[in-house]
Symmetry: C2
Subunit: 374 residues, 2 copies
């Protein structure tokens, strides 16, 4: 059999205020095309279908359309679980009806122990869970973290293993040894914690969701698919895509997805960035994180850059111009206004005021004093 493994759709997500609906639809159409062209026997969605537990009406309509398209129109089986961003209860609406068309959606821990039996494989759907849910399910308060819970879960799953079939696990958690990016909820802090990869060794393939890059984990038998769309600047370097898994030999192939507008990190000075010969070579409506290497103040810098690059999602200074204006511990009261201005300029621009600048500043100060005294 051949399965497509995707995850972390985060329908409804925005990127620094920009609506990603078109990107998400664009990625979905590619996923659908890959599934149909590869004649897959099913699509795995390993959690975080929605970006939030209370998705907007627009997000609900969009995900409903996508799932109906795959399952009802294309007649592709779907194997899905809820992730930490989904409301398991809301997502479960309609689930008992979906199985009639081979759309399997697990949102409760108890469902993890009833594998879906296919010709040569068993698929275990383990939704995102928290430690207290495992404690309740096993009626054992001694389960103190998700790793301990996962050990118990795997032990119980193994009682359902059919020796004549391969076992596939669909899950949504942080696997020990994975690398994170900014756009993933950091579950390590007070949340899910990490699951040691060796707990997964009894499965022929573990289709993971939660981390947004396909390279977050390298284990022989476990992979994150990553999200289909880049959701933060820290994902700029990632190649998004989906996995195709052939269960005959458990081989896997990564199928890349391309965005409409990419998320890109640009580092250069203002003169270059505003030079037509420079930006003529770029796709200016990408979602850009720009790092300016200039050291001097630039008036209206963001507005001027936006005239060329409409989708700037972040603007920083390489030398930390905007963020590292440290508090001085000098005796400010004993310095003249002109000296203070010079200190400030030197701090941010890494050079002294020129004589011309000092004259302008002195004239401005004189005028300000006259206004104050009049």
């Amino acid at each position: 059999m051949r399965l497509l493994h995707t995850a972390d759709w985060h329908i409804g997500r925005r990127l620094h205020g920009f609506d990603l609906t078109a990107e998400q639809e664009h990625a979905f159409k590619q996923i659908e095309a890959i599934a149909l062209e590869a004649k897959v026997d099913g699509v795995i969605i390993a959690g975080d279908l929605y970006d939030r537990s209370l998705p907007s009406e627009q997000a609900v309509a969009l995900l409903n359309d996508m799932i109906q398209r795959l399952n009802l129109h294309d007649q592709l089986p779907i194997y899905a679980i809820s992730g930490n961003h989904d409301s398991a209860i809301r997502l479960a609406t309609g689930a008992p009806w979906y199985q009639a068309t081979n759309y399997y959606l697990a949102t409760e821990l108890a469902q993890a122990f009833e594998p879906i039996e296919l010709t040569d494989i068993q698929i275990f759907l383990l939704p995102y869970f928290e430690t207290f849910q495992a404690q309740q399910y096993f009626n054992d308060p001694a389960i103190k973290n998700v790793a301990a819970a996962m050990a118990r879960i795997v032990t119980r799953m193994k009682t359902k293993f059919d020796a004549d079939k391969r076992q596939i696990l669909v899950a949504h958690f942080f696997a020990d040894g994975s690398a994170t990016t900014d756009s993933e909820t950091q579950l390590k802090v007070g949340g899910l914690g990490a699951i040691p990869v060796n707990l997964l060794q009894d499965f022929d393939y573990v289709a993971l969701g939660h981390l947004h890059g396909k390279d977050a984990l390298h284990a022989d038998n476990a992979r994150y698919s990553g999200s289909p769309v880049k959701f933060s600047l820290s994902e700029a370097h990632q190649q998004k895509g989906v996995w195709l898994i052939d269960t005959a030999d458990m081989s896997r192939t990564f199928k890349p997805l391309t965005p409409i507008n990419d998320v890109v990190q640009l580092t250069d000075n203002f003169a270059n960035l505003t030079d037509p010969d420079y930006y003529g070579q770029l796709k200016c409506d990408d979602y850009l994180g720009i790092t300016l290497t200039d050291t001097k103040p630039i008036v209206n810098v963001l507005a001027r850059l936006r005239e060329i690059y409409p989708n700037i999602i972040s603007l920083e200074r390489a030398q930390g111009y905007t963020t590292q204006v440290a508090m001085q511990t000098l005796d400010l009261a004993h310095k003249s206004p002109l000296d203070l201005l010079n200190d400030f300029y030197e701090h941010v621009a890494k050079e002294d005021l020129t004589e011309q600048q000092k004259q302008w500043a002195a004239a401005a100060l004189k005028q300000a004093n006259e206004v104050q005294q009049s």
Copy 2:
């Protein structure tokens, strides 16, 4: 065929802060029992399944359980529409799958023109709609109100009429001539407006939702079922229940539902209300709207009544003690504090201060003045 007609479940609704979950479950179990005992061929739910467009997780879980119970466990067909309190988009989740088990859920106007064809009847499911939706559907901005829209809708529906069958319409609107209570959203003001009953004359039965009392409309062929639970004090007098419709002769029978705690209006004086011989005759944990006939102030009146009646939802004075302290137009500045106090007391208690009360008041005023000057 035999159909059960209910509506306005408003799952998730609260009554003056009191959780109605137990009441709604209790009513549901009676509806289910009536449906099974009468061996109905289907259950009509004429809109407002939820109380709000963004129902809580608890409400979602409760409605999901109810629908699964009726349709999957009891194998009863369901004919449902969205009401003005529902989010049509959210409610529609899963709808394309539901038809496989004869759960028909219409949330869009376009669905109203594809009747469900049963042996001897056609069921038209018309979800709640607003004028602009009819304008869009018919591509006719000349449709200026819902009455005009409904005329167009009925005309189109009639093209689908099968002369060998009876026609049943399920709809959610304010039918002209209906009486409202406090707990229904007043759609007349800037909302749905009213639909003249004569527009409904071509249907053998119109199963209506929106108004919460079964007696809100008396037409030969149209009825509100009312809500299964009382949702406001203005519904205290209503007998809640559901209709059973026999399509052979279009006869109908009203089947009453009983609450756990009723909503009751009590009008009496404080002495009686706190007399064990009096309240021993009452079901004290009903949801009570109490109107006190006393004219004098009663210290801690609500707390004292709640010791006997835990579920008071409103407390008023028959003479308007709490609500009708009108602004005086007298020249207050020229009256002594004692005169002002006497005026106030006379206004609310309908009698003058006694000599003893005046002495107490004078002493208190003297003391207050001394404190102020010290």
